[in-house]
């Protein structure tokens, strides 16, 4: 399979899966989105295995690593600031702001917890721990 054909397949599958998920959400069907994503990912995986040329290499991975780290840094800071602002604004007559702020705050904690777990896992994997 050529890279061009793979990209066409990828675009088509993304459109179909997104369409199915969108339709399922509006129709109130909770059983379609997950299988649609799994089947789409499986088709893409098999298409990718049939490509002869290299489309992902260490430079692409390094770019992804940098982008992921920056995304977490920026997202966590912005989310924490928004959460603390909402918590400060949330008064007795605006309890919904406090609810959103608490949810956002817990989300930040969950992201940081997951980051710490994965950081320690990879640190052990690559020999960073004594």
């Amino acid at each position: 399979m050529s890279v061009k054909a793979y990209r066409l397949w990828m675009a088509a599958i993304v459109v179909i899966v997104a369409g199915l998920a969108g339709w399922a959400v509006t129709a109130g069907n909770a059983f379609i989105p997950a299988p649609a994503v799994i089947v789409g990912a499986a088709i893409l995986y098999f298409c990718r295995r049939r490509i002869k040329v290299v489309i992902v290499d260490e430079r692409i991975h390094r770019i992804g690593e940098q982008a992921s780290r920056r995304t977490i840094e920026i997202a966590v800071i912005v989310m924490a600031l928004v959460a603390s602002t909402l918590l400060a604004l949330g008064t007795d007559n605006r309890p919904e702001l406090e609810t959103v702020g608490v949810t956002l705050g817990y989300s930040v904690c969950a992201i940081l917890l997951l980051y710490t777990i994965l950081y320690n896992y990879f640190s052990r994997k690559f020999g960073g721990k004594e």
Binding site: V53, V54, I55, V56, D57, E58, R59, I60, R62
Partner: protein
């Protein structure tokens, strides 16, 4: 502190090896053509594994391809 820099002679070596194309070199070492372009422009420093593959593709030593300058 002076900034260390790794230079390379990939472009020179490609032309010395029968005007090997970037695509050909990329397929020999198992990376994308964009990575070869980034390497030649000095925008990317490869892993030690890719550096060894590169040297072997040209049949030279590592230091014939990459030079470390402080």
């Amino acid at each position: 502190m002076a900034r260390a820099r790794i230079n390379n002679r990939i472009r020179r070596l490609r032309f010395d090896h029968g005007e090997m194309t970037q695509e050909e070199l990329a397929s020999r070492v198992g990376c994308t053509r964009q990575t070869i372009i980034a390497l030649e422009q000095g925008k990317y420093v490869p892993s030690i594994e890719l550096a060894f593959k590169m040297a072997r593709a040209f049949g030279v030593t590592l230091e014939d391809v990459f030079q470390y300058e402080e």
